[in-house]
Structure formats: C-alpha cells, structure tokens
C-alpha cells in the first residue's frame, strides 16, 4: 500500500516539476512570448504618446494570465493554485475562451484517435510477432521482418503526408481534414458516426503504423525464447492443444517484457498526436497545442502541456501499478522499490 502511495506522489511531483520548467522557461527565455507581448503593448502606447508601464503590465497579465512583475515562484504558485482551487486554467488569448473548455472539448477526439490507433497497432504487432516466431526461419518470417523494418524506417509523419496526399487529395477517398462531416447533425445517428470514422481513418492509420512497427520485433524475439522453453515442451507432451499453447503459453508470456514499454508508449503516442493531428487538420488536443505554440497563446500552451504531461505520467504510473496483476512473479513494493 505504501508503495502505491509513494508511486502516486512521485508522479504528481514529476508532473509539477515539468509544469514548473515550462512556466519558468516561458518567463525566462529572452524574447519570450511574454516580453514580445509587452513590447507590442509598449509600442502601441508609444504611438499614442505616453507609456504607462503599470497599465502595460496589467494588460499583459490580462492577456497571458501572468503578472510580469511577480517573481517566477510566486507566479507559478498562483497558476497552480488557480487550477487546484478554482479549476481555472486561464483564458486562451487566441480564442478568448477558458483553456479548460477548449481542451475539454478537444480531448475526446484525441483520445478517440489514440486509443484506436494504439489498440490496433499493439494488437497487430503482438499477432505479427507471434506469427513470425511460430514460423521462425520461414519465408513468411523473413518477409514480415522486412515489412516491419521498412514500416519502422519511415517516420510516421512522412507516412501521414504521403497518405494524405494520395488517399485524400489525389483520389478523394478520405476527407482532407476536420473531425466530422459538417452537413450532418451531430448525435448518435449512423451517418454522423460513419462520418467520424471516415474523418478519423487516416489519422488512426498513421498512429497504427507507429505502434505496429515498435512492438512486433520485440514480440518475435520474446516468443522465440519461449518456444524453446522447458514448460512449452512439457505442455506439448501433455497434449495441451495448439490453441491454448499459442494464447496461454506463448502470447501471454511473451507480452510480459513488452508490457511496460507498451503502456509507457501510450504517452509517446499521445504526443505524436500533435504532429498527426496538425497534418490531418484534426482539431484534437494536439492540434490546439500546435496552434497555441504558433500563436504564442501562452495559457493554452500551459494547459496543453498539462494535458499531455498528465497522460504520459499516468501511462507510466499505470504500467507500474498494473504489472503485478499480469505477472504473478512481480512483487510490488519489496523488489520493485526503486524508480
């Protein structure tokens, strides 16, 4: 129990440190967005005559949620306490909407993309890995190895752009952007659902390819090791069916070493969403992060960072806390004491 508490506390600490770093960097970088905004305001006032530095600071604070005269620590404390006490993540400069509302509306779309991409990708890599190992040394094995290596070698964003230009622009099979058809009324109707799938297909496919390459070679190696194990031979002689050997013996045990990597990878995949969503003009949380960076929408950047940071840290935490459930040999706490 103490182990769980400590792991959760560690995660919160990690998240806060990351957030603080983002906040501090934003304030400290020369020519930072904050300074740029202030310089803008000063220039505006200069054109009108006198410069009221206090008014500039107040206006800058209004626009960014940061008081430039506050020390960084105090400002950070105010930011965090705003979130914790009032659920106030600040207001987007660009959209003039509360950051929380923007991200909250975008989040389900990102999760939709990622969850499907990840699930399909990992399932495929597990199946392909076991398949390769089962037919180790055959033509099928080497063919699939070549395929996986080439998928791995192509960066996912290049794949995404190629898919977009061919499948969407050239052949018009898929929409070139957006999350849902505009002509259809949103809701639980078939047309709208299909529209969502149609719009999500390419981004999901690109996420899928990212997850697919990563897992299958590792899965293959683990499976090959288990194929040669004593307990597999013993199970075969006992007459256990091939089906059960494949699922309960091979796949189950070969996943174990990959499991942590898979769950931690979820965080990385969410992060890859930033690029994927931008390429496909898919307005999820990643798309807003990109927009906010381009437009120096400081409160939105912080909010998005918080979102992606939380997802990553939660992924790692989840991997750690659930490993004991899938591998009975892992003793949570006593032996897995360290970071």
């Amino acid at each position: 129990m103490r182990y769980y508490v400590r792991r959760i506390a560690q995660s919160v600490f990690t998240l806060l440190s990351g957030l603080f770093l983002t906040y501090a960097l934003y304030r400290l970088i020369p020519g930072s967005p904050l300074k740029a905004i202030m310089a803008n305001l000063i220039a505006q006032q200069q054109r009108r005559g006198e410069v009221d530095t206090e008014q500039v600071a107040r206006m800058a604070e209004q626009m960014t949620g940061i008081n430039p005269d506050e020390p960084i620590i105090v400002g950070f404390f105010n930011y965090v306490s705003g979130i914790v006490l009032r659920g106030d993540f600040g207001t987007s400069i660009l959209y003039q909407d509360p950051v929380f509302d923007i991200l909250f509306r975008a989040m389900p779309w990102s999760i939709f993309l990622s969850v499907y991409g990840i699930m399909l990708g990992f399932t495929a890599s597990i199946l392909v890995g076991v398949l390769m190992a089962w037919h180790e040394g055959s033509k099928l094995d080497s063919g699939l190895t070549v395929l996986v290596l080439s998928v791995n070698a192509i960066p996912y964003y290049v794949g995404a752009i190629v898919m977009l230009s061919l499948l969407a622009f050239q052949w018009g099979l898929f929409p070139t952007g957006g999350r849902a058809p505009r002509a259809v009324a949103p809701g639980f109707n078939v047309q709208f659902m299909l529209g969502i799938l149609h719009h999500g297909a390419l981004p999901i496919l690109s996420t899928f390819l990212l997850g697919f390459g990563a897992g299958s070679l590792g899965m293959r190696a683990n499976t090959v090791r288990i194929v040669g194990s004593d307990y597999l031979r013993s199970a075969r002689l006992r007459g256990v069916s091939s089906n059960r050997i494949l699922t309960r013996y091979l796949t189950r045990n070969a996943i174990l070493p990959l499991y942590t990597g898979l769950v931690v990878g979820i965080g990385a995949l969410f992060a890859s969403n930033v690029i994927t969503e931008y390429i496909f003009q898919y307005q999820g949380a990643g798309w807003f992060l990109f927009e906010s960076v381009v437009n120096q929408d400081y409160p939105l950047i912080m909010g998005s960072f918080l979102f992606f940071g939380t997802v990553t840290v939660l992924g790692i935490l989840l991997a750690d806390l659930t490993y004991g459930l899938i591998d009975p040999r892992a003793e949570t706490g006593a032996t897995r004491d360290t970071f």
Partner: protein, 375 residues
C-alpha cells in the same frame, strides 16, 4: 507375453525362470542429427526391454545418449533429431478393459507400435500410457499459470473426467507428502524446488500411465531432497502399479532404488543387469571405472580416479569398442571389433570381450550404504 497362468506354474521351468513380463521394448533405436560436421549419432542401435513394475535406472555421463533414450520411449525426440527403429508398448493384459481413462484407444492389438502412431494417437498415448518428468523441474510449469490450471488443462486435453482425476491427484499428493490445497492455488515461483519436483511427478501421473520416465529428476536438487524423492519413488511404484525408468548420471544414487541398471556409454548400452549384481561386481570396464571414481568416506584420495580421456564425439564415434580409447584393458581386437551385449551372469549382460580381465584389473570398493535398502 503370456502371463503366469495358474495351470502352467507347475512346470519346473516356469518356477525357476518366470517369463519376463515386458511393458516396453526398444529395438534398433537410433537417433541421428545432421550437423555441419557430418551426421551425428546420439543413439546408436540400442535394444532394451523394460519389465513391468520394475524401476529401471539408465545411467550415463551427460551426452551419453541417455536423455535421447528417454525421449525415444515417448517418441518425443526433438527436431532436428530423427528417431528410427522399433518402440513397442505392451498393455497390461491383467488390467484388461477396465482402464478407460482418457482418449487413447489401443484397439484390439495387444501391442502398440509407438513410432507408428499418428499425431492424435501419439498425443493420447503420451501421458495416458507413458509419461515423463523432465530434467528442468524448475522450468516445467508455465510461470503465469497456477498449478491447478496445469492439471486441469492436461485432464481436459485427454478428455478425462475432471472430478475423478482430481480425486486421484489428491491421492498422489498424499503419497508424495504435499499439501493439495496450498500447492494447487500457488504459482510455480511460490513453490520450493522439492515441492515443484514432486508436483511435477503428480502431474505426470494424473492419467494413471503405466510407465513413468524420469529424466534426471533430481539433478537440480540438493542431496537431502534427492534422497527424499528417491525414497518416495518405491512407495509410489507399489501404490500405483508403476513402471519407472529413471535416467541419471549418478550411479550410486540409484544403487538403493533401482531393480535393474542399464549403463550407457557413447550412445549405446554397455552393461545391463540386476542392481545387486551390477553394483557388487560389474563386468564392463566403464561401469567399473565409474564405480571406482565414486568418492566415499572410506576411500583414500589417492584411490579416487576420474576416468581418463575425453567423452566420445557423436560425429566421430570410435571404431570397434567405443570405449577403447579410455579403456585400461583394451587391446588390438577392441579397436576393430565392436562387442555386443552378452550374458556374463544370470542377470548381467556386458558389451566387452575381456570382462574377466576388467574385474581383475579395475577394483573398487563400495560403501555399504548404496546397496542397502532405503528405509
């Protein structure tokens, strides 16, 4: 395979020389591998009979082919090894039709040609008639499955009745002194080596096979654990009507256990005989050297000699008698001619031309313990 009929016991012949009741016979069994250096023989035309309800120990150094012999009994030689020859199983006629556990149907024939079975039949034959305990007890269980699941899947794979079989397992656990409820709900890593080994034996006996093949079952255990398992095996044999083929490198270990001992050298049997005769006065130079190299409390350090020379290479088995490069009594004839197993005494056969010289030249002393009955 006539079994003693009440009417025939009157003949003087049957009284003295009861016909052997054989449960498995192996003829001309050979296992070959294709290796880069050439073809390797890891079992070289061996013949051996396993008698019903005996404990037969097969003894040899590692790499002598003894594990191959064990696998051959279940037609379980692993690829790329190729097994040829005859392995025949003779069902117990006395047990008759009452034995209908599992799905193996031997039909009307009174013998089963094991190497002729198709894959379904073989799958049923293994574990229902002949089963095996592997060398690696530590790794013979799926690490992510509870012990109980191993028993259940085995019973189900052979279409046996679950409750009835589990009742039988309870009996096995009692005979092996292990706690049924605790072990069944444990994961393999939660059990000690000794318990794991005994559980593995119970798992091998779940379908009441006639023959249990044990491949170095005690190799990974400490001496005390070895002794305790050995002492259980005799009871197990008596209680469950078993025939046990016990593969080991440790000749003195089986001195108190086995009824008969078969010694392997260079992928062949070089001496086969009743334990008492073989241990007391072995006829083959190799067996005698093995016994000589046994450390004992009484023996001087000077007296203890490991056998000189290298182990035989499976690709290049020496011509003539394969032991001649290491044999202290070898002469020219041994380099050319290959001796066959021949009777030396009533129940002792050796493959050597010069057993008398061997007995003269190589002497050994045994501690009494090894021929003593185990409690």
């Amino acid at each position: 395979m006539a079994i003693d009929q009440p009417g025939t016991t009157g003949t003087p012949d049957a009284d003295e020389d009861e016909p052997e009741d054989i449960v498995m016979s192996v003829r001309d069994a050979r296992v070959s591998f294709d290796m880069a250096r050439g073809q390797a023989w890891v079992l070289n035309d061996v013949d051996l009979d396993v008698r019903r309800n005996e404990i037969l120990a097969v003894v040899g150094e590692s790499g002598s082919g003894k594990s191959m012999f064990a696998s051959a009994l279940l037609d379980a030689v692993e690829d790329p090894g190729v097994l040829a020859g005859d392995v025949t199983y003779y069902p117990d006629e006395a047990a008759g039709e009452s034995q209908t556990i599992g799905s193996f149907d031997q039909g009307l024939d009174d013998s089963v040609d094991v190497l002729d079975l198709d894959s379904d039949e073989l799958q049923a034959f293994r574990w229902e008639k002949v089963s095996m305990v592997f060398q690696g007890a530590m790794n013979s269980f799926n690490p992510t499955m509870k012990i109980k699941a191993h028993f259940h899947e085995t019973i189900q794979a052979h279409n046996a009745v679950l409750e009835e079989r589990m009742d039988h397992v309870r009996k096995l656990f009692d005979a092996l002194y292990i706690d049924f409820d605790r072990v069944m709900t444990s994961y393999p890593h939660e059990l000690s080596g000794g318990i794991k080994q005994r559980t593995l034996i119970a798992l091998a006996l779940v379908l009441e096979p006639e023959v249990l093949v044990m491949d170095e079952p005690t190799a990974a255990l400490d001496l005390l654990m070895q002794r305790s398992i050995i002492s259980m095996l005799r009871n197990l044999r008596d209680e469950f009507d078993l025939t046990i083929v016990f593969i080991t490198h440790d000749l003195p270990l089986v001195g108190g256990l086995a009824d008969r001992i078969a010694v392997m050298y260079a992928f062949e049997f070089v001496e086969v005989g009743a334990t008492r005769d073989l241990m007391k006065n072995a006829a083959h130079p190799y067996t005698r050297s093995l016994l000589r190299s046994v450390p004992s409390i009484n023996s001087d350090v000077d007296e203890m000699e490991p056998i000189e020379g290298a182990r035989p290479d499976p690709v290049n088995i020496p011509t003539g008698c394969s032991f001649h490069p290491r044999c202290p009594v070898a002469d020219d004839r041994c380099e050319i001619e290959d001796p066959d197993l021949a009777a030396v005494e009533d129940d002792l056969q050796a493959a050597c031309f010069y057993t008398d010289q061997a007995r003269e030249k190589i002497d050994y002393t045994l501690e009494d313990e090894s021929t003593e009955d185990d409690r």
